[in-house]
Symmetry: C2
């Protein structure tokens, strides 16, 4: 299990490179929420200076993937109930807005249906990670309807935090299977030009998802 880095990016953006490595490891669940990221050991194992690692940390802290406690160190973010509520506050605002006021092109709609197909395939194959990825891609596509890169970035951050929530949970709930069909329904509404209906249904959908997640989370904490 070598955690070494073979390819040292010659002389460019080492700090960004390190940040992306850590991001990937955290997203993959290799670095579990709440665990400490020691400057000493990480700088050693990644083969970079403590100083540049530090810079990568500030980047990740800015993305709230990582929590920095002064003189204590940085820790992989461990989102709890309040964070989940915040996540859904964001989603409940921008996703329905994107649906309501977006004018999706047929290409965008086709792409969304492609994603749904992928999700169905993953569901039938019983692959939870693939389903999670597809679901994530779908909601990213929804936000992309706004055409805004900033909103897309925000959604990315939020979805990354969602992944952390799942990683922090002892038992993963069957969270995605149920919503595949609702996504399909959403695209159908959009294709019919029924944006208001689509937005309303999406809001219900998000409410239900939040409630389910919160229930599971509180049952977990007990």
């Amino acid at each position: 299990m070598s955690t070494e880095v073979e390819q040292q990016a010659e002389h460019a953006h080492t700090t960004a490179w390190i940040a992306s490595v850590l991001r990937a490891r955290i997203a993959a669940g290799q670095l579990t929420p709440g665990s400490k990221l020691s400057e000493q050991s990480l700088s050693a194992s990644l083969g970079v200076s403590r100083n540049t690692l530090r810079q990568a940390f500030t980047t990740l802290a800015g993305e709230s993937i990582v929590t920095r406690i002064p003189n204590r160190g940085v820790f992989v973010a461990a989102p709890g109930v309040e964070e989940v509520r915040e996540i859904y506050r964001v989603r409940r605002t921008i996703e329905p807005a994107a649906v309501l006021w977006g004018r999706p092109s047929t290409e965008e709609l086709d792409a969304m249906e492609d994603i749904i197909r992928r999700a169905r395939a993953a569901r039938d194959a019983g692959s939870v990670p693939d389903m999670a990825n597809a679901n994530q891609a779908f909601h990213e596509a929804v936000v992309a309807l706004t055409g805004s890169g900033s909103l897309r970035e925000l959604m990315d951050r939020v979805l990354a935090e969602m992944r952390l929530v799942f990683h922090a949970m002892a038992s993963a709930p069957d969270f995605h299977t149920y919503y595949v069909d609702r996504n399909a329904q959403l695209v159908k509404r959009l294709r019919a030009g029924e944006n208001e209906l689509a937005a309303a249904e999406l809001r219900e959908y998000l409410d239900a998802a939040e409630a389910e997640l919160l229930a599971h989370l509180e049952g977990d904490a007990r």
Copy 2:
């Protein structure tokens, strides 16, 4: 013109401190868009190491207050036409959404009217900066209706970028006077519970503002 720092924060978050200093200077227009932030001179004048200044830079770059060009340095962000469009893509999504689906308490509505009073006072006094501040506070209050800190942060960033746009313009247009009354109208609608109407009017409002800003910007570039 002393740009020195008298109070050296003893041993706490020097990097955050430096970041906030730079943020303030940029917001105040003391550091104009496009100007270069030399590591050497800044670290000297701020009395911090080049290394910690660098960390502050990555923070500010994450907030896109500052643009980093590899091996060239960091520059105060100079938003142009495309950035303005992006700003309004964001605003046109989250502000009407906040208005449409937010359930403002009477305290929140009172606070918004307070802000409008301040804006009117500034208008009558002819103080453009105060008007800009009040306008900014108003739109922040709108987004605050979502209850989401992340959205509020995003709005902060966007409004900071707006300030940069104004700083980058040769001549400032009379941008705020006209919209004070529209803000007042918005609050009236909200108080009456006419959220849909309020959202629709706000979208028109934002469209008009964007168009005016873009026209002025393009006239400026010519």
